[in-house]
Every structure is written in structure tokens, then in C-alpha cells.
């Protein structure tokens, strides 16, 4: 018979904590931010996460959805998820009111390499809802501003109405983030950039590419072309990081759904170094 190792696993990974919706902020059409608190005080005290990690939000009777965390990791007691209505779970969440409870498992997955970025410039390239998983990283960079060189956000949206967190840009800018936005489709009132977000990377100064890190989150095609632009600017491929998305069912690497070649996106990702997945990103249907 066999001794089965149960190393550090104290809590059953299938157990969901009860969370309550404290408030809801409407962001853009079909996207809202849910500010949550744990029902249990001990869980609230012990819970912590790293920028880039996600939680499984569990609506009993409907199912679970993997949603990245969007709040400041150092602000104890706040836990925000910016959610786009995309399926059954997120659709049901959109019909849920302040004060309601549901389940949460997490945090899961890898995080943005904040420490590895120290001592150099940082370029955050993202688009649409992709800013949500990078917001905790932005807070972290700004909280530790002196450790980094120039920190730049290049943010693309479908149109001027598709940009998240616009009310925070002035504050971010004041705290030292160089915020650059662009849209694929302009409107009459839009005075900013028009064009795909990778063009902002093509154009911006990169004085010390070897010490510049790129953190990217968006559709795979966008991330691939961002990496291409970054490589064109002589930024090394091991300094480019992407956040991948796959169907996540268990979040603990046991169900097989989220595999991307050797990578279990739920536990080896979602944040992963570009050179580790580069060869697979353009394989159709892989």
C-alpha cells in the first residue's frame, strides 16, 4: 500500500470561500468591476495575492469563471474583479446585486515579474479588457516607483468608449506612469491616437532595450505582434511577458482543459515568459 504525500495542502483546493459584493462600478458597456469582501474574517486577514493572479468566481447552480484580480495587492481588505459579460457565469454575475454572496476559490496562477523589472524601464502593452489583470501590476510599480526607470503604459481599445479605468489615468500620470492610449476606430470627438497599439511601441524611445521589460496582455494575435515590435526594438525575448487565456475549469492543473503544449495555463501561467510559448502561439488550433 502507498503513502500518499499531502505536502502543504491544508485546505481542500475545491473549497470555495464565501464573498459578498460590497459595490459595483460600471466601467464600459458590458464590463463592470465588482468590489468584494470575504464573509469570514480569518479568510479576509489571511488572503493575499500577487499581481496577475486570478480567482475562480463561483455562482452556485451556474458554475465557475476564472477572473483576474484587478485591485491593488497592497491594499488589504480590497478585492476587485473587472468582469466582462461573456458567458453563463459572468452573465449571471451581471444580474447580481450589491450585498449578494457567492463563492471564490483562489488566488491561482503565476504573477507578473515585478521584481525582475527592477533597475530598468517597464513597458506595459495591453488592449481592451486586458488592462484588468495589469492594473495590480501598475499599482505595484507605482507603489515601488523608485525601484524602476521609466514606466510606460501603451493601451489600445476598439474605440474611445472601450477604455477601462479612464478616471484613474491622471492620478497614474501624476505618480509617474506615462499613459499612452490609442483606438482602432476613432470618433469625431477623439483627439488621441488612432491605430493599433503596437505602433506606439514602434515609436516610443527605448534607450536601454537590454534592461527594458515588456508586460503584455491582450488577444493572442496582439501579444504576438507586440512581441514582434518589442524584438524589433531590440528588447530581449526573455524580458517579454504575456498573460495567456485558456478554458480553465479546475484552476489547479488537474482537469486538463487549459493546456497549451506543456503549459497548464492555470498553474504555470497565466503570466508566462514569451520565449517559453513563442513557438506555439502561431500553431493553428493548438
Amino acid at each position: 500500500m502507498r503513502t500518499v504525500a499531502c505536502p502543504s495542502q491544508v485546505v481542500d483546493p475545491w473549497l470555495a470561500h464565501t464573498v459578498r459584493i460590497v459595490s459595483i462600478t460600471d466601467e464600459v458597456e458590458g464590463v463592470a468591476t465588482y468590489h468584494l469582501e470575504f464573509a469570514d474574517a480569518d479568510t479576509a486577514d489571511s488572503y493575499s495575492f500577487l499581481p496577475g493572479q486570478f480567482n475562480m468566481l463561483y455562482l452556485p447552480g451556474v458554475g465557475e469563471a476564472a477572473i483576474s484580480i484587478s485591485s491593488d495587492p497592497s491594499a488589504q481588505g480590497t478585492l476587485d474583479h473587472t468582469v466582462r459579460i461573456a458567458g453563463n457565469v459572468t452573465g449571471e454575475l451581471a444580474r447580481t446585486d450589491v450585498g449578494s454572496t457567492f463563492g471564490l476559490r483562489g488566488p491561482f496562477g503565476s504573477s507578473w515579474p515585478i521584481d525582475d523589472c527592477a533597475g530598468g524601464d517597464v513597458v506595459i502593452v495591453t488592449g481592451g479588457i486586458g488592462l484588468a489583470p495589469l492594473r495590480p501590476a501598475i499599482y505595484e510599480f507605482l507603489n515601488r516607483k523608485s525601484e524602476f526607470g521609466h514606466i510606460t503604459l501603451l493601451y489600445g481599445a476598439r474605440n474611445p468608449f472601450g477604455m477601462l479605468y479612464t478616471s484613474e489615468y491622471d492620478d497614474w500620470q501624476l505618480r509617474g506612469l506615462n499613459v499612452n492610449t490609442t483606438v482602432d476606430r476613432s470618433s469625431q470627438a477623439w483627439q488621441g491616437n488612432v491605430g493599433v497599439v503596437t505602433q506606439l511601441l514602434d515609436r516610443m524611445p527605448v534607450p536601454d532595450p537590454k534592461k527594458t521589460s515588456v508586460l503584455c496582455c491582450g488577444p493572442e494575435v496582439m501579444m504576438w505582434y507586440t512581441a514582434r515590435s518589442a524584438l524589433g526594438r531590440r528588447i530581449p525575448k526573455d524580458r517579454i511577458w504575456v498573460s495567456l487565456e485558456r478554458n480553465m475549469n479546475c484552476a489547479i492543473g488537474l482537469c486538463g482543459h487549459c493546456q497549451f503544449g506543456p503549459t497548464f495555463v492555470c498553474k504555470d501561467g497565466p503570466v508566462i515568459r514569451y520565449d517559453r510559448v513563442a513557438s506555439l502561439l502561431k500553431v493553428e488550433g493548438f
Binding site: 500500500m1 502507498r2 503513502t3 500518499v4 504525500a5 499531502c6 505536502p7 495542502q9 481542500d12 483546493p13 475545491w14 473549497l15 470555495a16 470561500h17 464565501t18 459578498r20 464573509a39 463561483y58 452556485p60 447552480g61 451556474v62 458554475g63 465557475e64 461573456a86 458567458g87 459572468t90 449578494s100 454572496t101 457567492f102 463563492g103 487565456e245 485558456r246 478554458n247 475549469n249 479546475c250 489547479i252 492543473g253 488537474l254 482537469c255 486538463g256 482543459h257 493546456q259 503544449g261 506543456p262 497548464f264 498553474k267 506555439l280 500553431v283 493553428e284 488550433g285 493548438f286
Partner: protein, 380 residues
């Protein structure tokens, strides 16, 4: 437990004593599971009597074909492997992983108490021992441990049986997983005409043997046991070249062969259901009528199902060729990166139970560019 200091002595167990073995285990609180005949196949079920074993029956297997046939003797284990594997007990096809209840304080989630069932598996083949070893890595040796598997596995008692024959679909020699059982068991049997050679692989196994009417082995019995075990080696004709297989597959993701397989493959999921190492699953919500008590039920799923890679903005693997490629590259290539082992044990079930007889050894050979395909030619 396995790997403790053991006497290592082999004994002779008369055929009549198999019932005593079953009885001892049952009296000790084990649920004994062994091969039985059901729906014209040899499958694993709970047993209480030696009479439930498929005595005198064997299986004839080929790509896409499986038939039972009478043997000329009354061997209890004179067959190879059927559609079932032990994973159905350690990683149940349907199980509750959590539940939730609506209370006055809101939704409260719970997880079930660890399963206390103690299984004794009778008739575990070498390739199946290897498969259990692989699932041990998947479910219990990573960042997260699956509580359902861990509880059932912890309690399992394993009686291995050495193969004395091989099917044309077997290729465990290629995978270095058999046919000889070398570790991972509590007891191991080799079937002779009138009884078994029995050896212990754990203290628990040793103490169980102490309660059986064993005899010292004769030199003739030792010779006979060696020769019937050698038969299983000699009869193997199918071969999978594993040399550099990970890179061969992962550098050929755009090979035209994938589309050809995609045209033949029905995407039926049979190969993944019969595979003793496939571990893919999905969790679904099962609510009562009031919607206030919900069970989270995990069921086996398959990378061949279209919904398996579904995402809100599209399905990642929307063609059968993509899904077959996912299955084969996972099993034989990326499994090495993930678990430091192949995901294939060479049992041949996926070949036998494929309705169109797709043979992975042949597909790997084609992607390698061998032209020769498998040694026996396989099915086309």
C-alpha cells in the same frame, strides 16, 4: 507499504487458495475488485467469489476489434486487458468534489469528507501498475493534490498479475512498463496450470500471504513461471519508437498527417475513456429543485470533445485534427515536460477500442517519416 525490507521469497499458491485470498481481504474490510465478464468483454467489477473471474476465457484484440474466446484451460487471468482500467476506482468517472448551500448568511460551500473505501485490486497488469504510477504523479505529486484520488489511492491494496500472453495491440516492452511486474504492488501473481507463484511487494502483502496455505516452489514451477512470462515478451509484435519522441512530435505540429488522421478520427473519445492515464475532467453544477442546494460533480471529460477547449470568444481546437494532435502530443510529448514521464504505458487499449482502428504507433511512425509504420502493419 511498498519498498519496505521484505523477504522477497516466492511461494506457490494452489488455485483453490485464490478464494481464501479474496475472503481474507473482504474480512479485512476491503472491497475486492477483479476481472469479470460483462457485455461480452472482460471488465473490472466488485467480486466476492473466484467463480466471478473469467476462468477459461481469453480476449482476441486487433485495431478496432475485441472478441472473447474460450481457452482450452481454466486459467483465471488468461487474457490481456479489457476496456476498463483501475482509474475508474481511483479517479471515479463521476464524483462530488464540493457542494454549496444557501443559508441565511448567504451561500456556504463545503467539500466532502475523504472517501474511506478500501479497494483491493485483483489482477493488475504491469502496464496498469505503470498507469497508476503516472496518475499518482498527476493527482498527488504536483502543486495541488486531488483529495478524491489521494484518499482512494492511500487505501488501495494491489494484487498484480504477470501477463503470460500478449495481444497484437500490446507494446509495453517499447514503453518499458512491462510485461513483468517489478514494483508498485502489494502482491504479485504468476499463473501456472494448477496455481500461482506469489510474491510480496509490501509488508501488508507479506502478512496477507502468511494467512494463506502456500507451499515452497519446486524448481519445475520456477522454470515454468519464467517460461510463461517470457511468452508475453515473445508474443509482442507491436512497437513504438520512443527515441526523441517528444521533439519529433512537437517539431511536427504542422505535419500533413494530422489532417489525414482528422479525416479518419470520429472524435468519439473512446481512446481517452479507455486510456488508463487520461485524466481530463469537467465539473458541473447539479442543483436540487429549489436551487438552494448544489453539488459540484466532476465527470470524466475528453480533449476530443469540442466543448473542452471552449472559450467565450471561440473554441481553441475546433477541428478533429487539432484535437487528435492535442491528445497525441500531450500523451507522448508534453507529458514528459509536465510529469517527467510518458503518458503512455503501451497497453494498446486506444488501438483496440478505436472504432476505426487508429493506431498511435503507426501515426507516430508516419510523423517520424518511417514509412514502415508499426511492425505488424497495423490497420489502415
Amino acid at each position: 507499504m511498498i519498498n519496505q525490507q521484505l523477504s522477497g521469497k516466492e511461494m506457490f499458491l494452489p488455485k483453490s487458495e485464490i478464494q481464501s485470498l479474496i475472503d481474507l481481504l473482504r474480512n479485512d474490510g476491503f472491497t475486492v475488485v477483479g476481472p469479470t465478464i460483462d457485455q461480452e468483454a472482460i471488465v473490472y467489477n466488485e467480486i466476492a467469489s473466484v467463480d466471478e473471474l473469467p476462468r477459461g476465457w481469453t480476449d482476441r484484440q486487433e485495431p478496432g476489434k475485441y472478441r472473447l474466446q474460450k481457452r482450452g484451460d481454466d486459467a483465471c487471468f488468461g487474457f490481456v486487458v479489457g476496456p476498463h482500467s483501475w482509474k475508474k476506482y481511483l479517479f471515479p468517472p463521476l464524483t462530488t468534489v464540493a457542494s454549496a448551500e444557501k443559508t441565511e448568511a448567504g451561500w456556504q460551500a463545503r467539500t466532502p469528507e475523504p472517501d474511506s473505501t478500501r479497494f483491493a485490486f485483483l489482477g493488475v497488469r504491469a502496464c496498469e501498475l505503470a498507469a497508476i504510477g503516472i496518475q499518482d504523479r498527476v493527482f498527488t505529486e504536483g502543486t495541488y493534490v486531488d483529495p478524491v484520488y489521494a484518499a482512494r489511492r492511500r487505501n488501495a491494496f494491489i494484487i498484480a498479475v504477470n501477463c503470460t500472453q500478449a495481444a497484437p495491440t500490446c507494446f509495453c516492452s517499447s514503453m518499458n512498463t512491462g510485461p513483468r511486474c517489478t514494483s508498485g504492488y502489494d502482491l504479485a501473481l504468476t499463473e501456472l496450470e494448477d496455481g500461482f507463484v506469489i510474491e510480496s511487494g509490501s509488508k501488508e502483502g507479506e502478512s496477507l500471504v502468511a494467512g494463506l496455505a502456500t507451499q515452497d516452489l519446486t524448481s519445475a514451477q520456477i522454470t515454468k513461471a519464467d517460461s510463461v512470462r517470457q511468452q508475453a515478451v515473445d508474443q509482442q509484435t507491436r512497437h513504438l519508437d520512443t527515441e526523441g519522441i517528444r521533439d519529433v512530435l512537437l517539431t511536427n505540429l504542422s505535419h500533413t498527417r494530422w489532417e489525414e488522421i482528422g479525416d479518419r478520427c470520429l472524435g468519439c473519445t473512446n481512446c481517452t475513456m479507455v486510456c488508463p492515464t487520461c485524466f481530463c475532467s469537467s465539473v458541473e453544477e447539479v442543483a436540487d429543485l429549489s436551487g438552494e442546494t448544489v453539488e459540484r460533480q466532476r465527470h470524466w471529460d475528453s480533449c476530443f470533445n469540442l466543448s473542452f477547449s471552449y472559450m467565450s470568444h471561440g473554441t481553441t481546437r475546433d477541428r478533429i485534427s487539432h484535437r487528435y494532435r492535442q491528445w497525441l502530443t500531450h500523451k507522448l510529448a508534453s507529458w514528459h515536460d509536465q510529469f517527467d514521464t510518458s503518458g503512455c504505458v503501451g497497453c494498446g487499449r486506444c488501438i483496440t477500442w478505436c472504432p476505426v482502428g487508429i493506431d498511435l504507433t503507426e501515426e507516430v511512425a508516419a510523423i517520424r517519416g518511417d514509412g514502415s509504420a508499426s511492425a505488424t502493419g497495423g490497420a489502415t
